[in-house]
Each structure stands twice: as C-alpha cells, then as structure tokens.
Amino acid sequence: MAISSYRVIPGPESYLSPAAASMGVVLPEKGEALIEGKIVPEEEAIEKITEKLILAKNPFFFPGPLILWAWNEKAIAKAKAVKELAEAAGAKIIPMPDYRPKYPMINPEEEINPNHPNLTIWHNKIDTCVFVGVHCHYANLALKIIRGGTDCYTIALCGQAGHEDAMITLRDIHSEEVQKLTEVVKRAKGGTPQ
C-alpha cells in the first residue's frame, strides 16, 4: 500500500475536507498508533498525547455514550478511568450523550453533538480535545468536521481500530490502557514545573 503524504493536522482545513482514509491514511495495526496520519509505535503516540495535553491551554475530554452510560462493567470501569485521566491532565469534560440531530439546538457550553461538534469547540475555545467512548462512525464524522472548520488538535482513544481523522489515535484502548496513560500523564505533569 502506498504511503500517504497527506497530513492530518489542525484546520480549519477547507470548506469540505476529505476523509483521511480516502487520502491514503491507513489505520494502525495492534501495538501501533497514528500521529497526524503517520503510523508510529504506540509509545511514541502516548508520549505525544501527554505532551499535547500538558501544553494545551484549554483541553477538553468528549466522552461518548459507550462510556457515559453504565451498560456493562467494562463501560463503568472505562468511564472511571477516563475521568481520572481528564483530571490528571487538567482537562474539562463535555459529554456527547447521544447522536441525534438535536432540536432546536444544543447548548455548546454543556454538550457536544457529532453533527456539529465545531459549535462546542468554538464556543469554549477548545484547543485540544480527546474523543473517547464514541461509536466509531460518529467519532469519524465529528473528527472530520472539527478538522474542516476549527484549529483544535484532536486525539481519539479508540476501543476498536482507531480513527484516521484524528490527529493522534490510539487503538484497542480499554480501561487498563487509559489507566496506563493516566500514569504517564501524571508522571509528566509532576516533572513539569508549573
């Protein structure tokens, strides 16, 4: 497969930006990750996520329905881990409780919707965000719209195969992996003079 020269970087990219997968960006295999469209070892991406979270002026976590709702033990455990990670990173949390086109509008201060996620990014001046627990299809919609219309740096912690449309994506992320990431962030924070 040809290596893509397309880079998945903060926008605003264009009126209608392409899906990264259609530009040749391929998803990572197990143990790998994507940074801005390039396949890298997972550790490198973890390091980069840590750096991005620490340097961010206004980082936000966007947990999706797969962890917001207590539908099974794994979801509850992952939700707990994600909350700890957000706290460790000093990030705020805005939920994506569902995917409907909400009528008449969402309140961008307290929620995010995959159909127009840019509203929430703009309203809260979010410069770095983390998607976690969102069904892959909807995460990809949102990530692409964000890249198209905002300059937010997007990170996706995916329980499945990852997201090309995020600037950094990790794959196969469940509660244990989130906890490990939290440890890394905590360590890095501790080493950074405030």
Binding site: M1, A2, L16, P18, A19, A20, A21, S22, V26, L27, P65, L66, L68, W69, W71, A75, P97, D98, Y99, R100, P101, Y103, M105, P114, N115, H116, N118, L119, H135, C136, H137, Y138, N140, L141, K144, I145, G148, G149, Q160, A161, G162, E164
Partner: protein, 381 residues
C-alpha cells in the same frame, strides 16, 4: 444437524483441509452459507438465483440457520435484511438482475447505515425484451452504491469469496455491505470442481458489540438513538454532517483494502504483466480471456491477462501500474455498457490504449475466439 466447531477465519480460508466436490455455483454458495454461521436468511425467488436459496432453505430446515423465509419482493427482502442486521444478526440473501433493480433503493441505505450485509448477486439481463440469461450490467450500477463488490470467476471463487465477505464486511472499521457477484448461469448453473472446507467447521459468530453504529436492541447506548436520522432540513450545519457521513462510508471502503488483502487475497491476478497486449477482465469474461490468451501465446503473440477480482474498492494503484507497459489493453465484458472499461479508462492517464471490446450480452456466450479476433485486430493497429 451435525456438531460443528468454530474455527479461525484465516485457518478456514488458507489452511483447512479441502474436499473436492463437483458443484454448480448455486450449490457452492449454499455450501459457503452453511459454513458462515448465518443467523437469518431471507430471499425472494428469481432465476438464476433460486436454486441457491432453495438449498439455503434446506440448510435452515436441517437447523444450520436459525431463521429463514421467502419475502414478498426484493425491496422488502433487502429491507428485512437491513432490519435483521440492525438487530445484530448475521444474514444471507441473494438476488438477480431485475430483483437487484427492484431492491435498489436499499443498497445505498445498507452502506449508509453501516450494515455489514453479504448479498450474492447472480447477475442476469434486466432490459426489455425480457431475458433471464447472463449479463452483468447490474454490477455497473451497484458500483456506486457505497457497497463493496467482489466478482467471482467460477463456483470455487463464489464459495471462497462468500465466506471471506462476512469476515471483511464485519470488521469494525469496515462494517459496510459486500456484494459477491457472479455471472448467472455461467457460474450459478455451471458444474465444476469446487474444493470445500470441512462441513463441521464454521466461522466465528458475528459480534454486534463491535459495530461502529449502535445495534438496535435497547441493550446498547445511547438510549435515545435513531437509525438513521436523515439530517434535519434546517439544522444549521446539517449539510456538512451529511457530506461527512457519505465520506465516512467511502472511507470504510478504503479501510477494507487491508482486510481484503489479508482474507481474500489479491485484488488482481496477473499473468504475463509485461506483455504487449494486456487483457483486463473480471468474472467469466476473465475465464474466456484466459483461454484466448493461451491460444494467442501458442501462436506466438505476446498477450497477458489481469483478472480483477475486487471491483470495489477498485484497485486503482495496481491498475495504473499495470496500464503503463502494454501497447494495447483489451477489456472483454459481459454487458453492453462496458462498465469495467469505463472504470479503467477513468483511472489511468493513457486511456487511449484501452479497447472496450469485445462486449457480449443478452445471454450470449463470449467464445475465446471472439477475444482472439480483438487481439489480432489490436496487433494489426
């Protein structure tokens, strides 16, 4: 019903022992369905698909499939298949020519709703005057529905690709429908040697929890969930959502490439890639082209063959590379519109060298001699 065990897909496709049988294509696809661990099969009869869905019915009666019925027409069969898929079941269905067209509104919906449906298309003519005979014009229309398209040359590939289609379609990062197409009669009713995997081994079941969109069973959040909300008419940036949604379906097709390479194998099988004249074909046209190539080479002519097995996602890079060397590219097809020639021409820079002939349709056979004429004419040019 015999005891069966779940096996690893890669083992089944590549390493499982094979038993030689002498089967028609319709029997071969039913053998695949038996091994595919299908939950529900629904179909409507149409020539030349019928025998396949009869046997699938027998498999159901024996207990290998949990539910099966004859639907009221193809549109509603494909709708019921969508419903079953949304409910988290693994499904099988099949149709042909006019049935494909009657059902057509559902195919972009399957793709848009991210349903990993596997549907066999036993292609047949669709025009007036009526014909029930082979003609694969419907693939030309299916190509732009967002679903993935495999084109099997013979009953063996029909068997293999049907099984492989389930595993590719159900990958969480793919999760879009796959049409496994064959030319009616030339494959469905043609008896050939087919090597099948053991009857007591089946694919792992579908795991609905990996779906990239929520399964509609009230067991998966969000509880407030509509499949699939057509985006509200006047909801600010809703057009961008719709556009992004369509891009995501196409992106899923791109992601399928890696899984196809792993489970299905080569997108294109090439013999003599450096030849002066390259035949590019799919389905049974590739079988006829192979015979023509051999005849031509016996006569000292420099002819090669590229058989395209995967029509969607189209192997663009490979085709561009293949198109560089030959002086002439001949694309024989079993339809009047020449969708494959059109596709190849639109993907390469030097499309002038592509000859979209011979085309045979309406049930007529394409004798290798007919392709041979084109080769001889091409050399004279």
């Amino acid at each position: 019903m015999m005891e069966r065990k779940v096996v690893d897909p890669e083992y089944m496709f590549k390493r499982a022992p094979r038993e030689k049988k002498f089967l028609i294509g319709n029997e071969a696809v039913a053998e695949a369905v038996k091994r595919a661990n299908v939950d529900i099969a629904i179909a409507y009869p149409i020539t030349p698909q019928s025998e396949a869905t009869h046997i699938v019915g027998d498999i159901y009666a024996e207990g290998y499939i949990k539910d099966y019925y004859r639907g009221e027409d193809e549109f509603n069969v494909m709708s019921a298949i969508a419903g079953a898929r949304m409910g988290g079941a693994r499904t099988f269905t099949a149709t042909s020519g006019p049935g494909t067209l009657r059902a057509f509104e559902m195919f972009p919906l399957w793709a848009g709703a991210r349903l990993p449906v596997v549907c066999a298309f036993m292609c047949r003519g669709v025009n007036s005057p009526l014909t029930i005979q082979p003609d694969n014009i419907e693939i030309g229309w299916l190509m732009d529905t967002g679903m993935l398209i495999f084109h099997a040359e013979n009953p063996q590939e029909f068997f293999d690709m049907t099984l492989q289609a389930y595993i590719v379609a159900e990958q969480p990062d793919v999760h879009i429908p796959i049409g496994v197409c064959v030319d009616g009669f030339f494959v469905t009713h043609t008896r050939e040697i087919v090597e099948v995997t053991p009857e007591d081994e089946m694919l792992p079941p579908y795991d609905p929890s990996t779906s990239p969109v929520p399964i509609m069973d009230m067991e998966v959040p969000p509880i407030r969930q509509m499949r699939d909300p057509f985006v509200m008419k006047s909801n600010y940036i809703s057009y961008n959502t719709h556009a992004s949604w369509q891009q995501e379906v196409r992106a899923a097709g791109e992601r399928a490439k890696k899984h196809i390479a792993r489970y299905v194998g080569k997108f294109i099988e090439v013999t003599n890639p450096d030849a002066e004249i390259l035949l590019i074909a799919s389905g049974t046209a590739a079988a006829q082209a192979r015979v023509a190539m051999e005849q031509a080479r016996e006569k000292g002519m420099d002819v090669g063959l590229a058989k395209i097995r995967v029509i969607r996602p189209f192997p663009e890079d490979e085709v561009r590379e293949l198109a560089e060397n030959p002086r002439i590219i001949i694309v024989p097809e079993h339809n009047i519109v020449g969708w494959l020639a059109r596709e190849i021409k639109s993907r390469i820079d030097n499309s002038g060298k592509v000859r979209g002939h011979p085309r045979v349709f309406g049930g007529m056979t394409m004798p290798p001699e007919f392709i041979m004429e084109e080769i001889v004419n091409g050399r004279a040019r």
